[in-house]
Symmetry: D2
Subunit: 330 residues, 4 copies
């Protein structure tokens, strides 16, 4: 039984807390949020204790592992303190917006050989995981091209945009990680961006649509397209093209109904909207895997380094956007 | 080069005439219709001569083969006269509405060993033909169950219904033939009917929807469903279920566009509507095959017997509808 | 909080027990099975007490509701004793194989106005439920035809077949209930059967494939096809055809991957196999609904009468199979 | 009736010649090829006269229009001579590999106001045309992103590669034109390439796979991916994403069969392979449109300028490939 503290009780923190409370090998001991009422509500729903501050939860003897789901600017500090307190850490993405800080933190904690996992939930999605397994089993031979389509149903509030680190670090970071998950190391990044959705996002200095091309160390090519708006739901698709064929991960829906009428035929439901709905089984599998990491010493499928590398790709994309040049990664 | 007369220049006769006029191994010599203007229009479009009456076309020395597309009540008489004149015959379905007359006619013409083909166009559809080929190649092993879905976009005029011989002889007859094409001989028929679409059809003594079950000599089962109304086009599907799997023949559309929006996703076009649009390649292949029969002595894929047997199944379905009993076929 | 006893700890009983143990408004107090080890295993997995016999569980004061998942021949007796003990009952299908006994039992218990639910899990499937909702909202207008495809991945052991009551009472009973769920009362049944799958089933006096036609009181038609074998999984589809269009409930799969290669394109996974996998959310929703019935006096979506009526349709199908006649229901 | 000469009787020239010979408003008068036997074979199949040289065909009084399907290096010269001879011209793509020559030629011929059409057949594909129509009708609102997937079934001979002008000018040129057809003018190009398919292509100095990003004058983004190998056929798809939803043009197949078995379900046929098979209706519509241009003065949907602009994009892509920079177009 792994005992948990959850720091941050917003939408995703609450979901994790409930998943932990129901997990047969986990126990949710403590929750904390800077907003008292958020933490109180989760405490009530799960039976966990509400901590006065993060420190109380980090210091508690009945805590083996800390799940960090607070705002991004607090991630790295909490992570470091949790490691210093000897806890395992599952930290939501991005671990930070500043690569230098991420590297400096690692310099301070690496000798402890900490168990750290970055919350790249998509690696645990049954469909994407099956896609990767089938690639590795050679079903389509050598991987040549990947197309990742990743569109949010709608833009977040501008207040969120302003602290998000921008589209690449906030949203594309998942796609960068997916590219690495499927293709291995990335050696170049090119990106263009556009403001097509929400003028306030432009005013905030960010883009709301993007197209990106990556080259992998193996010579494969990857395209990512992003938008902050998608009327038909949370568009999450992958297409992997190899010497022997193609594997596609299609969108998913709440029912398998298809409607036929005078205007349209075989019309399916809008796709699952939004991440908590689309990635329900992924979040459960993520917790399951992290409990394995804590209990059995399994190496996290997405460790600290994955969080760092995805951020590095985001930084490179931003540089490419600004310079109009392909950015090579050392 | 096979020289043709086309008798009957309605919608389907006109289509056949144009197909013949363009066929590299056929020549359309004569056309006739009881409505002068219909024949004149087809003559003009194809360069064929317009006959004063059927007799002129049947007697013409520049006619090897006669395509009968006139009204059903004239089929059998024209067919017999054409055979007597030594012509090959391609006769639209049904060859007649009266099984006794069909058998009597055969008794009179069989010694001539005539080349006769019944216009069961669906046997020539590339998809259904591929389905049958794949069944015969054993792709799904022994055939166990067949489901035939066959729905017209809308009901014909009541005037047509009144001389049609009823749903089974007019519409289901294609499906009965398809069952025989895929499954071989049929040994029992059960049918229910309903009036769901058009009250005038009920007044005319006919049904406008039906469900049928057939048993084949091999012990396989077949379901047919029919309706005289289908808002999304001409619904023409087959599902063949065997010990190793299933083969489906899906509907077809004018384009491969799929639309995604806030109400529906992957929405395709309505399906091809109506038979001339859906079975364009089938009608071309049918003519091609019949030219082969005339030129090279190939045995018609759908001969006089196929016309007779499908009618016999229609009669059995009508008996079953009236008695509520499964009708065994000798 | 509704306190439960589960009687019968086979595959489905075990699943229900685990679902109850995890349900936020249910408490699993007792389990029993004639096989000690089965009950012990479920007791261990759920923390429930293991009863010495059914009587102990039925008499327990910490039991509000009894879930009957024992062998069919024990259902009715346990149901009656549970009702007499004042418990609510959720009974797996079929409630019995003998319609007379079902009616006699009802005669004895009806005055207690018992809360009884029959385990027609498919009514709770999110897709089928959405299908019914959309029918009732008029999306395709008046319902005209329904096609239910229902094929098991493989035949059960012959020992099971021998006590199953036959294909119609054991397997088709779900489809009969689905027909009633979508179409209302059924007024006639016609059925044919075949032995296509397993010779031992024939030796046991049962069929392993069937096709059925139903007529509803509203004049709509329904086709059901069944097989005890399906190589691609548990084939569970519905097609509802109305005056304005069609709604289909398609099969479901463990992932949304589609494979493209030199032999096949857009190839999807085999479909979910078997009922526990396919109907996972349905079983959860079923329990949820039953808890509502117990706690809040909600009327069960599938009551005792639904169990009785589906059995009556199965009996009529058997009569039709034997007589070759359409059987009218009073 | 428009009288034609066809110059070049290779695979595509032969197809055009046969289409012209069957066209109701066209007459194929002359054919020519540097290989006598190729021209003789087409002449025999179509009844056209075989010219001794291109000059004879260009000078013939019974020629209104010239279809140029010879090797690329002869296109521009033949086009210019045909225009000087007062003929209308339908020229296969690319009109030339050298943008300067293309512009110089235009300088010499433009005052004649010639009727020239570039053979961008995909503009005439019923599906792509419907896609464009629906975009223009506003079905998905403002167009934001386009993804064009375009993969050849297999690489051409290296001898062809060597004179092809490279992947961008030979293959991607169709996709560049499609981007312009859907999105209007393009203002920037970025491209990466790879050698993944055929070492001999690398030795010949060309790439065999590419990914490209375009920006349109309207601020929309476009991604193109190409490969010289695709095991499942000729992969030709478009995805257009707008503020209200998405339209996809899916691949097309020879039949609508879907196969279900123990390994895969809903498996469709490989897609149509290769361009003559995939674009059969497009080539027919292209000829039809060109005949309209000749007879009725309709402006070609793809004129000389379209040929020139697609080449300019190919040149920009090559520059981007070599420099790693986004290339702005004036």
């Amino acid at each position: 039984m792994v005992k948990f503290a959850v720091l941050g009780c917003g939408r995703i923190g609450r979901m994790h807390a409930i998943n932990l409370a129901r997990h047969p090998r986990a126990e949710l001991a403590w929750v904390f949020d800077v907003a008292d009422s958020a933490a109180a509500s989760v405490a009530e729903a799960t039976g966990a204790k509400q901590a006065r501050d993060a420190e109380e939860a980090l210091a508690a003897s009945d805590v083996d592992a800390v799940l960090i789901a607070s705002s991004t600017n607090t991630h790295l500090d909490l992570l470091e303190r949790a490691v210093e307190a000897g806890k395992a850490v599952l930290c939501e993405k991005p671990i930070d917006l500043d690569l230098a800080k991420v590297d400096a933190c690692w310099g301070r904690i690496k000798e402890r050989n900490p168990t750290i996992m970055t919350g790249f939930n998509r690696r645990f999605d049954p469909t994407f995981r099956a896609l990767r397994d089938r690639l590795q089993q050679g079903e389509i031979g050598k991987l040549e091209q990947v197309v990742i389509t990743s569109r949010d149903p709608g833009p977040p509030p501008v207040a969120y945009i302003e602290v998000s680190g921008g589209l690449f670090r906030d949203m594309t970071i998942h796609d960068f990680d997916m590219a690495r998950y499927l293709m291995g190391e990335i050696v170049s990044v090119f990106a263009v961006g556009a403001n097509l959705v929400e003028p306030a996002i432009k005013s905030a200095g960010d883009i709301d649509a993007a197209m990106i091309i990556l080259e992998s160390a193996d010579g494969a090519l990857c395209h990512i397209n992003n938008s902050r708006r998608c009327t038909y739901g949370y568009d999450q698709r992958i297409e992997a093209f190899g010497e022997l064929g193609m594997l596609q991960a299609a969108n998913q829906r709440p029912s398998s109904i298809q409607a036929w009428g005078s205007k349209a035929t075989e019309a399916k439901d809008p796709v699952l909207d939004f991440f908590i709905e689309r990635y329900t089984p992924a979040y459960l599998a993520e917790i399951d895997h992290f409990v394995d990491c804590c209990e059995r010493g399994v190496t996290p499928i997405a460790g600290y380094r994955e969080g760092r590398e995805a951020l590095r790709l985001a930084d490179a994309a931003l540089e490419s956007l600004q310079t109009g040049k392909k950015v090579a990664l050392g």
